[in-house]
Amino acid sequence: MTNIIEIKGLSKTYFTKKALNNVSLAIEKGKVVGILGPNGSGKTTLIKILTGILRPTKGEVYIDGNKPGVITKSIVSYLPDRNFLYDWMKIQDAINFFKDFYQDFDENKAYGLLEFMKLDRDMKINSLSKGMKEKLNLTLVLSRNAKVYILDEPIAGVDPVARDQILDAIINNYNEESTMLITTHLVRDMENIFDEVVFLKEGEVYLQGNAEVLREERNMKIDDLYKEIFGE
């Protein structure tokens, strides 16, 4: 198995606060990996380094053999943890925007996903509910034929119906050629879609492994393991 993402001894310090401390991870191609931890555990910092938004203080990061930058941005499709579209846009404008920006954007896939999400391309962004915005953002991100998808809290704050649609879209989009990194603290809702899980605690990798092996070894659900590690 080839590693699509390699992280070695990664640390990130904001002034005096350590956000990540000596994180090392190797992620295989074709896996769905859950990055689990409460708020402030370093999940978003890790993702911002992988997407080239932040620079590491120490350590090395490689995505498909390259350091985060222009090349990796063309193969990494990233869903930030907040809405990234302009309010004046209609859904169609957002699709055109992505089409202009990314060579690997598949317009037909986007229309198919929009229909699945029950979104209309004439809708205005500022009229969308939080759940609808999340569904639109995910539609755009999944419509790229990327090697790596990085989804930061894809189901945070959405209602159960939207959550199920988002999970279905993620599962349907999965293929062996691409890798998915998903951060969440809503472990119970998402644990069944992970091949591997990584527990981040106070900026360090506390535990990582195959989700099924961990269930078998610990005789508990990943959700219960999460509660054990991070306390109630």
């Binding site: 279905d168 349907n172 069944n192 091949d195 269930r215 078998e216 005789n219 659900k221």
Partner: protein, 119 residues
């Protein structure tokens, strides 16, 4: 739907076994595709694949390349499955009853009584 503290692939195997024993899926029937079952259960496709693989190792299903996964045609294998599911249920029942202090005679008489009531 997956609440036991067991690996998901085993829970999915058990789910399919139950469907076979209950006759919801009959011998020779095609199982749902990995992708369809993965969407239905909201589970990683690799996990479904593993369940199918393990069921194949137990000779309950077989894969036809490019066609899909099918339930065995062999009636005896399904009968055996039914037997083994029954005996594991009964065994765990007996174990539970014993741990409550019932002896074999008492257990039988309780079952006997219940079965009569049920009629």
């Amino acid at each position: 739907m997956f609440n036991e503290n067991l690996p998901i692939y085993i829970q999915i195997m058990n789910l399919i076994k139950r469907r076979i024993v209950k006759g919801e899926i009959r011998r020779g029937d095609k199982l749902p595709s990995v992708r369809d079952l993965s969407t239905e259960l909201k589970v990683n496709p690799n996990t479904i694949q593993r369940s199918y693989h393990e069921l194949e190792r137990e000779n309950l299903v077989f894969t036809q390349r490019g066609m899909g996964t099918y339930v065995t045609e062999d009636e005896n294998i399904i009968k055996e499955l039914k037997q083994s599911m029954a005996s594991s249920l009964v065994n765990s029942f007996i174990q539970d009853m014993r741990s409550l202090g019932f002896d074999l005679e008492e257990i039988v008489s309780i079952i006997d009584e219940k079965m009569r009531e049920g009629k």
